[in-house]
Subunit: 284 residues, 2 copies
């Protein structure tokens, strides 16, 4: 496989400029250094990768406080079959309360952000801004942009970088409900990741289990355990076919072609109605 | 244990009047027929039960499309230790687009609802109302109330009952992304459920697994499998201690004192750093 011409790669991210996704992308020394393309939603980023409108795309998978990003998982599992995870990027998240000009918490009428950012700051909002209207923006940066363009008593939740970029003030306190907040982003492409890069890899799959097989998850885990394949994450999501019917997202250590991983995946495919490989990629 | 004086029980629900939680509560023939107390958030409902301000409370646990209600799971797992699940209530959800007066989709400037309702209608919003501002309300009914009180071109996502209650128009189409939408609610109390009622029971626990024990989930599942205890749900959530560190919510068939269930729970408590019983209650 030829080297990627990294300076010509177009990478889609949740925009506008100033989102955590863009910060994570800029901090990733192994990501493409070409054009960054701001897109309006996680769905649009994944769809643009699938359609070839961009070469790569970065989306959030999981946050240390609020958990998985269901919009990302559902689109990867159910909507596109030609998109692969090619890299994992773990980035620290320090949310700030952002205003156009300084005001008291009690005067804030509206608090704008992405719903996942609101959820990461649930306690702060409950205790410090109980009367503010909670308004969803497409991204944290879009929230900051909205605040920068109004004279209303609005505040946003976003990054210090976004505050600076839109000429706003970031309060100097972390407002997440728990310390050590991080988000795990993934880079997507229609070309699977090369399997010959240095360092450790992860492999991600999504498994569909038939409704009337309550022991299936145990069987899945046993396939990995007796081959000493370490799982780093297991997450259930609704299959959308009714309550009690789930798909399981599983991340494991190793490359898809490692003999033990390959053997486990092959046996899973025999047992289950559907096993979809989401990617085998360098770990963050 | 004496019979509950069901006509004197005060039950908290996510208000105002017209929420899905209230509808589920009114449809539950075995729930208390006393006073219904509207509260402003899921957190407030659980806190009111814990503080004894109400006798019981109803909260959403899980939706067939969007999955678990993280605000409920996190509060039950991490914030109160004296609240027990005493009953499960499964209720069909048919979201409607609700307006004060009829207008074209293209004219809707703002679409208000609870974030979980927005997420259940993600495709509909993307395709039919891409330009509307998405605004979070504390509940679907509160969204309908806000629409009923304005001349602005706002619409809400909520129930047909809420539309009628607030004098609004409900469009006659289901706007969920998938059919057969249901939400599983639970009834909470500081007194555990009596274990002698007829019918099938479920038992719910939350387990904390040490970060460096990747095989722990397998061990947990084996405790249940070799005793033939059927699990109806397994859900991971962040422990809030950092990426890769999870707690597991597990629902199983049976009563906590059934010999096989009791034996499995006892062995789990020996193995894990923490096992919290959320309740053992009649299944919905």
């Amino acid at each position: 496989m030829p080297d990627r011409a990294v300076d010509r790669i177009r990478t889609g991210f949740l925009g506008p400029t100033g989102t955590w996704a863009e910060e994570a992308l800029l901090a990733c020394v192994k990501c493409g250094s070409g054009e960054k393309v701001a897109l309006p939603s996680v769905y649009d980023v994944i769809a643009a990768v699938a359609a070839g409108d961009v070469d790569e795309g970065i989306v959030p998978m999981e946050n240390a406080i609020e958990g998985s990003v269901s919009a990302t998982l559902d689109v990867l599992a159910f909507e596109f079959d030609n998109v692969h995870i090619i890299r994992e990027i773990v980035y620290p998240i320090r949310h700030r309360l952002i205003m156009r000009k300084s005001m008291e918490f009690g005067d804030v009428k509206r608090i704008i952000s992405h719903p996942h950012a609101h959820a990461q700051c649930r306690k702060f909002l409950r205790e410090s801004l109980p009367h503010a209207e909670v308004v969803a923006a497409n991204s944290t940066a879009d929230a900051v942009r909205m605040v920068s363009e109004t004279d209303e008593a609005w505040a946003a939740i976003g990054s210090a970088v976004a505050a600076e970029r839109y000429g706003c003030i970031a309060m100097d306190i972390d407002i997440e409900d728990y310390a050590d907040n991080q988000t795990r982003f993934v880079l997507l492409s229609t070309s699977p990741a090369a399997q010959d890069q240095d360092g450790s890899y992860k492999t991600s799959i999504v498994c569909t289990i038939a409704h009337d097989q309550p022991g299936s998850l145990l069987q899945i885990l046993q396939e990995f355990a007796h081959r000493y394949v370490n799982l780093t994450k297991i997450e259930s999501r609704p299959s959308k076919k009714g309550l009690g019917d789930y798909v399981f997202f599983i991340d494991m250590e190793g490359r898809k072609d490692d003999p033990q991983v390959a053997s486990a995946l092959k046996c899973l495919e025999c047992k289950l109605s559907r096993v979809k490989l989401l990617g085998s990629y360098p770990a963050g």
